[in-house]
Amino acid sequence: MIVNFTLNGEPANARVVSPVSLLDVLRDQIGLRGSKSACEQGECGSCSIVLDGDVVCACLVMAGDVEGSEVTTVEGISSGDVLNGVQAAMHEAGAVQCGFCTPGIVVTATDLFAANPHPSTGEIKSALAGNICRCTGYGAIVRALDSLAGRRS
């Protein structure tokens, strides 16, 4: 089947012949490799995307289920080379180690700040509970987002 959906604001389609995840379609068919493929069971959050307004794991979305949906990936989160607030704050704070979890964290944190521009540290940590950083670089990530929320650390 051909699945038509909106991807980062543009019309997109994918040919789906078997039950595959949206993550596989994004990475292998469409060539957007910002969403990372790691645990494939919704545990790590490195494939976080926004589907019809909600942050979800692309590995747990069946590609055939996005007909008519709006999908935003990390590639669609900034405008061109201009970093969004979360990206700029993480860049400034050096909140990246190996970088593998970074796209998922950017997507999740961007969603958090869109709904709540001044989250508490506790709210930041709760929002990121589904994004695992294997380098355990949480300190810098939370500091970056704390500063974006208006708190100096």
Binding site: P19, L60, S126, I132
Partner: protein, 251 residues
Amino acid sequence: MAAAGQGATPLAGGTDLMVEVNFGHRRPDEVVALRRVDELASWDGNRIGAAVSWRRIERDGPRALAQAARTVGSPQIRNAGTIGGNLATASPAGDGHPFIVAVDASIELASTSGTRLVPWTEFFTGVKETSLRDGELVSAVELPEELPDRQEFAKIGVRNAMVIATVCVVVTRSDGKVTVGLGSVAPTPIRAHGAEEMISSINKPSESDLDEFQRLVSEEVRPITDHRSTEEYRRHAAGVLARRLLVRCLR
């Protein structure tokens, strides 16, 4: 509905099914996607549609069910996962189950020939087994008209987030009547009837009454030892949690 009747696999939030697909354990030929079926996502008073997400329940649910929703997976999982999917999967560790059993909810099942309302006692039949027939979907959860005044949920796991319950419990109290719903301590969610009966007959339980209540809960559960915990620990923790929640309900 007709597709489900012809053997298509129902897909709600995908948080269970897609894991099996990704790992090659299942390769459904036909899938019927329920995520955007409005009828299933409706929430009308005590009838919660099967496709209502944990995210919504976390926000709008009755106290102990909202507390349970808050412990389901991660924000991403709560955005996708649904109460109906939790029931249809029927994991012994399902976070929503202790509430369902503690308040004596029923599960609405739908097929092309209509709907039927099944009490939870008849819905759960074993580990990941239910009385769903071929061609039937979980369409809603029907809560009783009156919910208990006091209701508390707690869960033990090895982490604060993204954790499958080692034990999860709901205790309710209304006009002195206490109910105890437990998950992860038997093949299906269960009630601790002996403990309920003993404590419900006492107006103001003393410390020794609470000791006895805790002992009875630990005695009534039927846990196993597996990779997540041991039988002994689960037995102990079930009693401790139930007592702690009862004390909260008594305050």
